[in-house]
């Protein structure tokens, strides 16, 4: 049997806009992936859990305007735990298009702003993981 893609989703910090990421979580499980949604979680906790649970993808959502700060922080923690290249990283939420390139240069693989379609997110995950030979 084909191994299911495992996706870990969380909300960093204090921003309580949960609906977007919960919707994505549901859509990805409908697309055949196994999703774990943590709600609020520290980046330390998330990276640890991602390693333990052996997930393929870490996704998070920021609606507060602190998307750059949280992306940098996640990457810093991944590097600290020696897991810089172990996961496909996705961000969603409300942020300006002008910041997409910067998010990518920080190290986020998939950037999904307002109006993104969940099928695109699912396809993106499948294609990227295939490219990496992870599935």
């Amino acid at each position: 049997m084909e191994k299911k893609i495992r996706v870990l989703l969380f909300k960093p910090g204090l921003d309580g806009h949960w609906r977007g990421i919960m919707t994505v979580s549901k859509a990805l499980s409908e697309a055949g992936m196994e999703t774990i949604f943590f709600g609020f979680k520290t980046v330390e906790g998330v990276v640890e859990a991602a390693i333990q649970e052996d997930v393929d993808v870490i996704g998070f959502s920021v609606h507060s305007g602190a998307h750059l700060e949280w992306s940098r922080e996640l990457l810093k923690e991944l590097e600290a735990q020696g897991a810089r290249d172990d996961f496909l990283l996705l961000i969603g939420g409300v942020f300006p298009e002008q910041d997409h390139d910067e998010l990518r240069s920080i190290g986020i693989d998939g950037v999904f702003g307002p109006g993104s379609v969940t099928a695109e997110i699912a396809n993106f995950i499948k294609e990227k993981l295939q490219d990496r030979g992870a599935v």
């Binding site: 204090l14 309580g16 949960w18 919960m22 979580s25 969940t118």
Partner: protein
């Protein structure tokens, strides 16, 4: 309304004449799923009795409005929900809005203020969020800076915070207002103080159990209204807007709102108060969404149902208690990041719904809000949208102008029945606190937002710029950015405050608050002393968390 033979005959003829004409769709329905006919006639309002069901404005059942002359006497309040960066920057934005014609203030707070966390507290990453989603108000110093030199004696202020921080933020405001020489009778404004906003709407970090949130919400009602500390203040605003934003429909919105109000009424009656001690001060904050006529019918039905609830169940003596007072915000979730100028058009139609529905006050969203906080330019246009309605269109010149429309009256009746049924469903399962504890309410929300996502993605719900008339290679508008130094500035403000305040006094008062929480006394008197003495938001909320514990949300995604 009697239906004559001539009308019957005409209808028959018309039915015959449309045979062979094909509709654009198989079936037409409202956003809430109410099936629609292609035409409404006197037959659809046959059972509606004008005197009993519609009546006159300012009189039961208030279908046509809660005041006799509505906007002829006083136009609705232009109240823009606003805040960003630091209290000083927010103050500048509020001054600008006031000069542009705003007639009421409303504070949007940041995630820390909402959750009761200080920026120098050991909450990982808290500093990233300072001033990002709204104004940081961590102590009385911040509050003072926000309202500095604003005419708060004449212009009402809405404090958009929930039970977790409503006592602290409201008392900061009251303390500052008194310092500025205002008497308690002169304090005009609102605290949102809504338990459902922070349990099924926005999920704050480290929230309390529903019963503790309800306690805090009722403490503020008791303090302002019953103890008459601020008799003209609205100590609560049942914010159905925030539940609606999650994807539920207009019927669920008002059904949940009524059930929420009942939970507070029952709690206060249980405390031994009489209905007339407080019920006239309960107010609402509704959404204006995409379905134009359904939203207007919703406002008319909500007024009628509030009247019915009061009359059948609580029977207050104060005639004001029967008036359903509400603020409206146009639907943020209807805005798109794509072709953002189209948001101006959406917002204008939604604002018109609110006005035709008889709102008391209105916030219009800015066109860039699907991308960032509003810029000066975009928020000015949002104010202008209301000014055009008030001064150019003539829509405010006649009370409830859509009354008597066969469609509007039939739809109002249909909404009324559906809302009451939904409200009774929540009541039958034990009310909103029980429905929160079991996760039922959240499940309702989650079903709704997942359905909405599917409808949008398959194109069943059409959205210009997203699934219709999509433009490739759109040039994005320059985004508004909040002050990147806000965290630094606010940490420094707190450092100075902690240095200058009487630390021993604050510590003693925090102990007093611990005791009040343990025996479940009203927290307001001691919280008011605390904020005056320079206690911070995080310190006060920290006591609630310490004594009552944090709520584990009963749901999985």
């Amino acid at each position: 309304m009697a239906v004559s033979d001539e009308i019957w005959k005409g209808l028959e003829n018309w039915e015959k004449s449309k045979e062979g004409w094909k509709g654009r769709k198989e079936a037409f329905k409202t956003d809430a799923g109410i099936p629609l006919k292609d035409l409404y006639t006197p037959l659809d309002v046959e059972k509606i009795d004008y005197a009993r069901d519609i009546g006159f404005p300012g009189q039961p059942p208030f279908t046509r409005g809660i005041y006799p002359t509505m906007y002829r006497g006083k136009l609705w309040t232009i109240r823009m929900f606003s805040g960003h960066g630091t209290p000083e920057e927010t103050n500048r934005r509020w001054r600008m809005l006031y000069e542009e014609g705003e007639t009421g203030f409303s504070s949007a707070v940041d995630a820390l203020t909402f959750s009761g966390v200080d920026p120098d507290q050991e909450v990982p990453g808290a500093a990233h969020e300072v001033g990002k989603e709204g104004v940081p108000l961590y102590s009385i110093r911040g509050m003072e800076a926000m309202v500095q030199e604003l005419p708060i004696d004449k212009v009402s202020v809405a404090l958009v915070v929930e039970p977790l921080t409503s006592a602290a933020i409201t008392s900061m405001y009251f303390n500052i207002a008194r310092e500025r020489g205002l008497k308690k009778e002169e304090l005009i404004g609102t605290t949102q103080n809504d338990i459902l906003t922070m349990t099924i709407g926005y999920i704050p970090w480290g929230s309390l159990k529903p019963k503790d949130l309800l306690k805090l919400a009722c403490d503020l009602i008791e303090y302002c209204t019953i103890m008459k500390e601020a008799p003209r203040w609205n100590p609560i605003n049942f914010t159905t807007y925030n539940y609606r934003e999650g994807g539920i429909d207009a019927v669920q919105e008002i059904g949940m709102g009524l059930a929420n109000a009942v939970a507070h009424i029952e709690e206060l009656l249980k405390r031994g108060w009489k209905i007339d001690d407080f019920v006239h001060r309960l107010a609402f904050h509704l959404s204006a969404h995409r379905d134009f006529f359904e939203e207007i019918a919703k406002y008319r039905a909500a007024r009628k149902l509030w009247y019915r609830l009061m009359k059948e169940r609580y029977k207050p003596r104060n005639p004001d208690a029967y008036r359903f007072r509400f603020h409206v915000q146009t639907a943020g979730c209807s805005l798109t990041a794509q072709q953002p100028m189209v948001n101006i058009i959406r917002t204008a139609y939604q604002a018109l719904e609110a006005v035709l529905g008889g709102t008391q006050s209105l916030h219009t969203n800015s066109y860039d809000e699907a991308i960032c906080l509003p810029s000066e330019e975009s928020v000015r246009l949002a104010v202008r949208t209301q000014e055009v309605l008030q001064e150019e269109t003539g829509v405010a010149e006649v009370v409830d102008p859509l009354a008597g429309s066969y469609y509007m009256e039939a739809l109002t009746r249909e909404m009324e029945e559906r809302i009451w049924d939904y409200f009774m469903r929540v009541e039958e399962m034990g009310g909103v606190v029980e429905a929160l504890n079991t996760g039922w309410l959240f499940n309702e929300m989650s079903k709704a937002f997942n359905k909405r996502r599917r409808d949008q993605e398959c194109g069943e719900e059409k959205i210009i710029g997203v699934n219709r008339y999509v433009m490739e290679d759109e040039e994005p508008a320059p985004p508004f950015r909040t002050n990147p130094r806000a965290a630094e500035i606010e940490k420094e403000r707190l450092r100075k405050l902690r240095e200058e305040r009487d630390a021993e006094k604050v510590a003693k008062l925090l102990d007093k608050l611990r005791k009040a929480c343990e025996v479940r006394e009203n927290v307001l008197p001691v919280v008011s002393e605390l904020t005056a003495a320079g206690a911070t938001l995080g310190e006060i909320t920290g006591v609630y968390r310490e004594i009552w514990g944090i709520w584990q949300l009963p749901f999985v995604a």
